[in-house]
Amino acid sequence: MALKYELQEVEVWDGNYAASHALRQAQVDVVAAYPITPSTPVVENYGQFVADGYVDGEFVMVESEHAAMSGCVGAAASGGRVATATSSQGFALMVEVLYQASGMRLPIVLNLVNRALASPLNVRGDHSDMYLGRDAGWIMLDSFNAQETYDLNLCAFRIGEHRDVRLPVMVNQDGFITSHTAQNVRPLSDEDAYKFVGVYEPIDELLDFAKPVTYGAQTEEDWHFEHKARQHKALIDSRPVIENIFVEFEKLTGRKYNRVESYMMEDAEVAIVALGSTVESARVVAKYLRDNEGIKAGIVAPRVIRPFPFDAIRTALENCKAIGAMDRSAPGGALGMLFNEVSAAVYTTSSRPIVTNYIYGLGGRDLTLEQIKDIYRELKKNADAGEITTKIQQFVGLRGPKLEFFETRRG
């Protein structure tokens, strides 16, 4: 029987340590992991918990991230609660198996501590790995600070394991900015956390010999399409389940999560759409601009990146005039993902706000509050002019001459 861990009402934890404690409290059966910066402490701390008797489950050290996710798939198919963590190159190596996990409908929880992808080699935070995983069929949650990393990990087990969902779930946090920044975190007691997550109920487990099942079957043009369509439907249909679990979590903790988070949007004229810790920094700036420059600024942030909250994003943004979609990932010859997905959503409203794209923070480049102020001021100009007054895609915080692309042909 696992030992109980004494926790203070307020702990000072970084995002990695918060994730480790959430995994411990969920009493995961199998963690198969291969450490990589900046996610290493998630499994390092967890391994310590196992060694010290705080966990009954198994910690499996493997030879690569491909093997880590393969181990998770095997353990989950066998009927266990399963989790792991990775970042960047490790995540890239996992990609093949990510699709297997979601296709087999295995509710694995993966902590993805966001980091840039090489080359050039870089260990710091951006969202390249998060974006790499967005078509893998996983539910993707995004935390903006360490408290949220902890909370969303507990929710992730509930969501993924729900009988109507049965899908793997990623919990994203910003490498270093969240993962290595210690802040006040209010954890649940071990009892309350476990009670919330609940006892794992396996479905179609391989180790149930009374009821043999097959995982990883082959389907060609006869059935593959139907399987993939059902997987997509399961993702889209997970929306109300996610919302209900967030409501339950609020009842327990007072902390409310939504598929799309909106801040100061009631009367906002201009809005930034962003992910990760940038959402919080933008809140500081929006408040400043409201108080000092009369700019009605707001923030909209997908808490759930997949299933993409097409409906909720549209509701959150349809009453503002100009939107800056901020992508922290090299766009690789296109507009940024948030720009493309947000634009598509608001295009189906009658108001059709103006959307522009800002690329920032690659490889951990600092995004300062001053830079965010400038973005809002540009958005305000767009809102006043009723058209895009800048290039559509701009790079922020880049050395050298300004890099920007595409002009509007609207208006």
Binding site: E11, V12, R124, A182, E280, G364, D366
Partner: protein, 187 residues
């Protein structure tokens, strides 16, 4: 909001110091943030750690800051790091050095008009004599408690004991001595 920048070498315990300070401050009901600029830094390489302290939840995540306190825990970094970067007219400096304050300032032109805001303490010597190793982070906390006036020494020592509770009693005791000595010796 109070903002603190630590100048250190990787391995001297600035991150642990910043987190320890955060732990103690959080027990007063305040909100804290502790982070570092490192990454693939090697032991001995210059690095910086940071604290933010506020009454409200801290939601700014920029690395840029205008520090209220600059804590230098390696004696050579005052000559190689830009310790006055982004400082304010009120920024206070606590520098570990074996030199007297006048000797130090005479070698650092950038501190000459900030004399009344510069404090010196020999964290290296104190940690060698108390802890037995050159770990200047805990003595610096003692000096910070004195200069900032943020806590009573006894309160800080009591809370720090809890933060260090996983360590053997001997280590806890020597750290308490180091904090107390630096508190008394900082000038």
């Amino acid at each position: 909001m109070v903002e603190i920048r630590w100048h250190s070498r990787a391995g001297q315990g600035a991150v642990t110091g910043a987190k320890g300070l955060g732990d103690v401050v959080s027990t007063t009901g305040k909100q804290v943030q502790a982070f570092a600029l490192y990454g693939s830094a090697k032991r001995g390489a210059a690095m910086q750690a940071f604290n933010r302290i506020d009454d409200e939840q801290i939601i700014t995540h920029e690395k840029f800051m205008l520090p209220d306190f600059v804590l230098v825990i390696d004696p050579a970094l005052v000559f190689t790091d830009n310790i006055t970067l982004n400082d304010k007219a009120t920024t206070k400096y606590i520098i570990t050095t074996h030199l007297s304050k006048d000797e130090l300032i005479s070698q650092l032109p950038e501190l000459q008009n900030k004399k009344d805001r510069v404090f010196v303490v020999d964290c290296m010597q104190i940690s060698l004599e108390t802890i037995g190793r050159a770990i200047p982070n805990t003595p610096m906390l003692g000096a910070f408690v004195k200069v900032s006036g943020m806590f009573e020494l006894d309160y800080f020592l009591d809370r720090m004991k809890k933060v260090l509770s996983k360590f053997p009693q001997k280590i806890i005791d020597s750290n308490m001595q180091a904090i107390t000595r630096a508190y008394n010796e900082v000038k």
